[in-house]
């Protein structure tokens, strides 16, 4: 890819066997599972991660979710009026650091409690298949912490009380949690061009990147029977906006570049599903990165979906892929036809650029052809088709009423569980019914090794060498205690071959003071 891309995944948290008599549980009624203090549970899960060398803490200076790409600053962010307010007796006793549980791992990833969900953020990398591997390594890390937390719960409460972590985006009760992709973009690219070019892609890429869902959800209402392509489509309410927890927009305008703000912006893409299929993760990111390349090169989409918010839902719920959506000009189009237009533009500009690009283009073309003729050809790659193919055979003829079967909903949830013992997807993987893109033997290594040539590689090297002296860190800086002073290493402008030179310096320096003395050009006192 022409740019570094990262993936943030908020994992779902299915809580079983908690009761009002669990330690610390409140006595009053709640609208969630009784006795579950989600903040406490989430923090406990993250803090249980059994990986050595982790750093606890985070420097929030680089974060401002109120800053908007449109040049303004939001006074406040929208909140979901139907959000679950569980008990918080235990979490209120935690310090802020204990509750947020920020953990930076040796592979450069951040793992923490975000809105009461364990969130795993990969280091950003321009290598598509390395990104898929890092995302998959995250599943193993999160599962390791799930196991450790359940061992503790078994000791403290009993074996019937446990948490199960899900790589999905819905609780099946009308609430969603996110999977966000982050694409570094040139600040000079017009925001209008980004919105116009990205929106039709974000609305239609669910054709091959949708994770599938049994049910149709509306905030505050019981789940309705049905099967659809996307886990997330039900939850988008606006075309463009800064919010993420309510009034979710298809094009999110949060402006946190985590890099030089004069040169870059970061496309914080929230309109997508968390995938179990490695192929789907690769295609979700690979196609989107190519569309961004097109836009940065001056491409202007000559087509525009008239009502993207309605279209993203209509497309998700039409698994025949024959329905059309109105365009602002010309005849209505199917999602497959819109994707063909985008693919055509990408192929015209980028075919032959490099093997990774050619892989994305060829898989994209093959997928669209299959979607238009025989979608079952994708039943080893596309999550929603893998699911539908299996569910149709085990429980329904496609009659919408049978999609309300609670057992199918349980299986749908089980598809996303990360515990290999109960995960439907892992069962299919083990049985050779889905394809893998990355070497599965590498994943344990990826859990402790950052992607080469990234700022995460510098963070990882610093953690390994000087971890105890790190005071705080974030995506583009690391702050150390050096004697009685703080020293902040700014990673903002460290790119390309300079990264390897910095890592060499870190490895060569006998101690932190020597490193500080050597790196005069890229450092400053905090």
């Amino acid at each position: 890819m022409r740019r570094p891309v990262g993936i943030e995944t908020e994992y779902g948290l299915n809580c079983e066997g908690f009761s009002a008599t669990s330690p610390g549980a409140p006595t009053g009624p709640t609208d969630g599972p009784p006795g579950v203090d989600f903040g406490y549970e989430c923090a406990s899960i993250v803090r249980a991660v059994p990986f050595p060398g982790a750093f606890r803490g985070w420097d929030y200076r680089g974060e401002d979710p109120y800053q908007d790409l449109r040049g303004m600053r939001a006074d406040q962010l929208a909140r979901d009026p139907n959000d679950l307010d569980g008990p918080d007796e235990r979490s209120r006793k935690l310090s802020r650091d204990e509750l947020l549980a920020n953990t930076v791992l040796l592979n450069g990833a951040r793992y923490y409690n975000d809105h009461n969900h364990p969130e795993y953020c990969t280091e950003a990398t321009p290598d598509l298949f390395e990104l898929v591997a890092q995302d998959r390594a995250g599943e193993r890390i999160v599962h390791a912490s799930e196991t450790a937390r359940n061992e503790a719960l078994a000791r403290e409460v009993g074996p019937a009380t446990r948490v199960r972590l899900l790589k999905n985006n819905t609780d099946y009760h009308g609430r969603s949690y996110g999977m966000h992709e982050n694409y570094l973009c040139a600040r000079s690219t017009s925001l209008d061009a980004l919105v116009r070019g990205m929106t039709p892609h974000l609305v239609t890429r669910q054709l091959y990147a949708g994770a599938g869902k049994v049910g149709v959800e509306t905030s505050g209402a019981p789940i309705a029977p049905g099967f659809q392509m996307s886990q997330r489509a039900d939850f988008f309410e606006e075309r463009i906006g800064i919010n993420t927890t309510a009034k979710r927009p298809i094009f999110n305008t949060r402006d946190e570049p985590h890099a030089s703000s004069t040169r870059y912006r970061r496309l914080h893409c929230i309109a997508g599903d968390a995938n179990r299929s490695e192929w789907a993760t690769a295609m979700k990111v690979g196609t989107t990165a190519l569309v961004l390349d097109l836009i940065e090169d001056g491409w202007t989409a000559e087509f525009e979906i008239a009502d993207p918010v309605k279209a993203i839902k209509d497309i998700s719920r039409d698994t025949t892929m024959t329905a059309t959506v109105p365009m602002t000009a010309g005849r209505p189009m199917t999602a497959v036809a819109i994707q063909h237009l985008i693919l055509h533009a990408c192929r015209a500009s980028f075919a032959g650029r490099d093997p990774e690009t050619d892989w994305v283009l060829s898989q994209w073309a093959e997928a669209l052809d299959a979607l238009g003729s025989d979608p079952e050809r994708l039943a080893t790659r596309v999550d929603w088709i893998i699911k539908r193919s299996l569910f149709v055979q085990i429980g329904t003829t496609g009659d919408p009423r049978t999609w309300g079967d609670a057992r199918l909903r349980r299986l749908d949830m089980a598809y996303h569980m990360i515990d290999p013992r109960v995960s439907l997807f892992e069962t299919l993987r083990k049985q050779g019914r889905v394809i893998n893109l990355v070497d599965q033997d590498r994943l344990d290594t990826c859990a402790q090794t950052p992607p080469a040539g990234t700022r995460g590689a510098i963070r990882g090297a610093l953690l390994a060498r000087f971890g105890p002296q790190i005071r705080k860190l974030e995506w583009d800086s690391v702050t150390f205690d050096v004697g009685s002073k703080e020293w902040r290493l700014d990673l903002e402008d460290i790119t390309g071959p300079v990264i390897d030179r910095v890592i060499e310096l870190i490895d060569r320096s006998p101690d932190l003071s020597s490193l500080v003395a050597t790196m005069k050009g890229g450092s400053r006192d905090a």
Partner: protein
């Protein structure tokens, strides 16, 4: 997946719908690092699905995120 995969969790519904694929899905073209394992029998899958259905509870409510 072959058409022989029939797991009776919804006995009121026909178990072999028209949409059932008639042949195993084709492998995609070669991808960088793509790996694959040999497909196991449908009986093994049936047994695993029945076990998962027995073991997994209904989804519990969760807070919204992001």
């Amino acid at each position: 997946m072959t058409p022989d995969t029939v797991i009776a969790i919804a006995p009121e519904a026909p178990t072999k719908p028209a949409e059932t694929p008639t042949e195993a899905p084709s492998r995609p073209s070669s991808a960088p690092g793509e790996t694959d394992t040999e497909k196991s029998s449908d009986t093994d899958l049936d047994d695993e699905i029945q076990r998962i259905i027995r073991e997994i509870p209904d989804p519990t409510p969760q807070p919204g995120g992001e």
